[in-house]
């Protein structure tokens, strides 16, 4: 099977032809410069075309169609990505239409994750726009009979600056066609300081559809003759089907059953009837007895650990320990956490005998396309994946098993099929944030300076583990990342969860720092500042402190003030919070959270603030309540009755500060503001009542247990 990221020139032009128009303008049909453009590198870049036509098309009516493999899952890139294009192409933002996540129409993309849409894809898009504009200028010079140096661009028009009435629109030049003409050298991108459209809050493009109910999610796709499928699931991970009796189900009028080995699906034109049919299947499973559950998991995980990798190191740990007057050694734990997007996985597939079209709730449409083609013996161009709106994802919609299930059934039955997971299936098949362990041994000298930081993190991963404090003797070792460990170490699938690894690492680091500060008799903020040289970190901490009104005092102070900070996706972020702890019940009320962020140039400030608020609110969940309970492969939390996520009544007062940093290209925005939520709440609880909680989530029971140790 050929991966869709490798595309011949002919295929490429064919694909562009799908977009309509297709007459090629320009001079040299086989312009070699197109392919001479430096190929992109790396897993994320290599498959992305260098031809600017893949990213945009200018219609005769002067509207610009922008094509991107990114998807909209609530993070707002549908609104911010067009800002990038409009900026470099000198067009009005309203003139840009965006087409997202369609594998037939959009340039290849690795997927929407890692806060990369703006800082990574955005650069390619801007390059495409810059080249397109350069080419348009060349075409306009011919058309207007004016030297190119005298031409200027504004709002989709090119005019002769010495006689501005002499002008031509982009659309008149392209007539909606591919522009088969390229520049020898890519002109420079606009300097950050010249941005006019980026950096402004623009209203969300999806607003109207989302408030009127016209926004389509995958489960809202309706095709003629479509069947809804429900699939027989094992009761526990690792369970094997022994036998299934489908006789009773077959009695339901209009019900269809597909049995392929242990894959059994019931289909009906009404999903609720299909569900009833499924309930009538009498199935027996062989269930594993592993003895692994949410209480024994940490011992299990520590029994044999993956190969360690060093994230960062400096000095010599032995020396650091010798120089220390006080050494503190602690172990931190965090539980499995679910993504639990409000929209469970859904997909619709339709096969016409040649082409399989799949609408799927996925963060990785191109990967899904390749997976389906590979699994169902189709060529890559026989499969088209279209991505409607996603109802949240947070890293959990990458594997996209539901798309394969729908595709498989549609191909087999030659009928459109929808697979929409129930909430229980959503929990069962979630690729959880891994349970993890962090062991830290750290020391301070008699002057309160940190001399030692010996850091080992198991299973969480690399992100956020690197040292950024000035500690002469330190070593940060990562034992296993979230990728690739599902079968052997974890009892079910794990995967990236909003800012993977960084929540765990930041929680452990900040709690440990406050224990050190306490030993040193220092204020936790001053303690951090005294061990930092990195300007950006100093700036976000100071900005947060100013907004919060932090008054230095040693911890525990009884005030219930917490602090945390870290780096994620190139963004620096600092948190401060105030909590109240009910000593009797152990329950924690987070009253206020301040978050200050330096994310370089901000493309859409309003959108960025929204993302920060979302991160903070969501982060309260893993800090205080969210934890997946299980036993012998069976999930014990399958709905929101026992798995609680933050609700309105949890809401603290949230204040966000975005620092100005106009000299740095845009950095990540969808994840950083969640990384400190465990740490800031943990340090605040400690400050309030002197109880250090060593396991996330900090449930009332765990807080009470910690109080008993005080």
């Amino acid at each position: 099977m050929k991966s869709s990221s490798k595309m011949s020139r002919r295929e490429f032009l064919k694909r562009l032809g799908v977009l309509g128009g297709g007459v090629i303008i320009g001079f040299n049909t086989f312009d070699s410069r197109l392919w001479a453009r430096k190929p992109r590198a790396g897993f994320l870049g290599a498959g992305i075309p260098t031809d600017f036509n893949a990213f945009l098309r200018i219609g005769a009516n002067n509207r610009i169609a922008l094509y991107t493999g990114k998807i909209e899952m609530g993070q707002g890139v549908m609104t911010s990505i067009p800002q990038l294009l409009a900026e470099e192409l000198y067009v009005n933002i309203e003139a840009v239409d965006i087409i997202m996540g369609d594998t037939d129409l959009c340039p290849w993309d690795a997927g929407t994750f890692g806060s990369l849409s703006i800082r990574h894809f955005g650069v390619f898009l801007r390059e495409a726009a810059v080249e397109a504009r350069g080419v348009l200028l060349e075409l306009a010079a011919d058309r207007l009979n004016a030297p190119i140096g005298r031409l200027a661009t504004e709002n989709g028009f090119i005019f002769d600056s010495s006689s501005p009435t002499l002008r031509v629109s982009y659309g008149e030049l392209t007539q909606g066609n591919i522009i088969e003409k390229y520049l020898d050298d890519l002109p420079p991108l606009k300097p950050l300081s010249a941005f006019e459209i980026m950096g402004k809050s623009v209203p969300r493009r999806d607003a109207l559809e989302k408030v009127t109910g016209t926004a389509k999610f995958s489960g809202d796709i309706r095709l003629k003759g479509m069947l809804y499928a429900k699939i027989l699931r094992q009761p526990a991970h690792g369970a094997k089907l022994i036998k299934a009796d489908t006789a009773a189900a077959k009695k339901i009028d209009g019900l269809q059953i597909v049995e392929q080995g242990d894959f059994i699906a019931v289909l009906h034109k009404h999903p609720d009837v299909a569900q009833q049919g499924l309930a009538r299947i009498n199935a027996q499973f062989d269930r594993p007895k592993t003895g692994i559950n949410d209480r024994t998991i940490f011992d299990h995980l520590l029994k044999s650990t993956p190969t360690p990798e060093i994230a960062s190191q400096g000095g010599n740990l032995k020396t650091g320990e010798k120089k220390a007057a006080t050494v503190i050694e602690k172990t931190y734990y965090n539980s499995y956490v679910s993504h639990a997007p409000m929209e469970p996985h859904a997909a619709v597939a339709d096969f016409d005998g040649k082409k399989l079209t799949v609408w799927a709730s996925t963060q990785t449409p191109f990967r899904v396309k390749d997976m389906i083609a590979g699994q169902l013996d189709l060529s890559a161009d026989q499969v088209r994946v279209i991505t409607p709106y996603l109802g949240g994802a947070f890293g959990g919609k990458s594997a996209s098993q539901q798309a394969l299930e729908a595709a498989r059934l549609a191909k087999r039955l030659r009928k459109p099929v929808q697979v929409a997971w129930s909430r229980a299936e959503e929990f069962f098949f979630d690729t959880f944030r891994p349970a993890a362990i962090v062991k830290i041994k750290s020391g301070i000298d008699s002057a309160g300076k940190m001399t030692l930081w010996d850091y080992n993190v198991y299973y969480a991963g690399m992100r956020g583990s690197k040292q950024f404090y000035e500690i002469p003797h330190h070593k940060e070792v990562v034992h296993g990342r979230w990728r690739g460990l599902s079968g052997r170490y974890h009892p079910f699938a794990v995967g990236p969860w909003r800012a993977p690894a960084n929540n765990t690492n930041t929680y452990a680091r900040d709690m440990q720092l406050n224990l050190m500060a306490a030993k040193a008799g220092a204020d936790p903020l001053q303690f951090r500042l005294a061990h930092l040289k990195d300007r950006r970190m100093l700036n976000v901490l100071r900005a947060a402190a100013e907004k919060f009104g932090w008054q230095p005092i040693k911890t525990p102070s009884g005030r219930g003030y917490g602090i945390a900070c870290g780096i994620d996706a190139g963004t620096y972020v600092a948190f401060m919070a105030e909590v109240e702890v009910d000593k009797g019940s152990g329950s924690v009320d987070v009253k206020r959270v301040v978050c200050a962020q330096d994310m370089g140039v901000v493309v859409n400030p309003e959108g960025a603030a929204t993302q920060m608020e979302g991160c903070i609110t969501m982060g309260l969940g893993y800090a205080l309540a969210e934890e997946v309970r299980f036993s012998d492969g069976e999930l014990l939390d399958l709905n929101f009755d026992t798995y609680s996520i933050p609700t309105f009544s949890w809401l603290p007062k949230i204040e966000t500060v975005i620092l100005e940093n106009p000299n740095l290209a845009p950095q990540g925005g969808g994840e950083p503001a969640i990384i400190g939520m465990g740490g800031v709440v943990a340090t605040a609880i400690y400050d309030a009542v002197g109880a250090a909680v060593f396991q996330l989530p900090m449930t009332p029971e765990r807080v009470k247990a910690a109080l008993r140790q005080v």
């Binding site: 408030v211 489960g219 999903p271 609720d272 639990a340 997007p341 409000m342 608020e613």
Partner: protein, 159 residues
């Protein structure tokens, strides 16, 4: 067993031959193709499936089609009148009271019902009233702000 069920959906009369025991959510979403009400949990735990029955918020995953016979059902699709957004919808747009938008139909209709009962709610009233509607994206602060704005603009009236 098929029976004839009549009700009003977004102002238009509907007559269905259905098994009266079927869940309103699925009849709306499939038989009637009205996909504004969303499935989020199926057990009355999230509010994504909220619709209005005679102006009161109900969880459509928890009631049968028979239960609403004769009622007036409003889904998010029916809230805007003559192309004009309801003040709640307008306020959700202005405050960006959503991210992924999956909870939004339920949020808006729940808020509608809340304001019908209590046209001038305090912030705490809003928080209490909305607490059972879940939003995973964390749009809560903006949803509260949107409801406050809408309530102010509506000055106690429902239009």
């Amino acid at each position: 067993m098929l029976e004839t069920i009549r009700f009003k959906l977004n102002g238009r009369p509907v007559r269905l031959e259905v098994n009266g025991e079927r869940t309103l959510l699925w009849v709306l979403r499939t038989d009637l193709g009205v996909t504004g009400p969303k499935y989020g949990c199926g057990e009355g735990l999230c509010g994504a499936c909220t619709v209005l029955a005679d102006n009161e918020a109900v969880l459509s995953c928890q009631i049968t089609i028979k239960d609403i016979a004769g009622s007036e059902i409003t889904t998010i699709e029916g809230l805007a009148q003559n192309g004009k957004l309801h003040p709640l919808q307008q306020a959700f747009v202005e405050h960006a009271g959503f991210q992924c938008g999956y909870c939004t139909p339920g949020m808006i209709l729940k808020a509608y019902s809340l304001l019908a009962d209590n046209p001038t709610p305090s912030r705490q009233d809003i928080i209490d009233g909305m607490d059972e509607n879940l939003c995973r994206c964390g749009a809560h602060t903006r949803i509260v702000a949107a409801i406050e704005t809408a309530s102010r603009r509506m000055k106690g009236g429902m239009k």
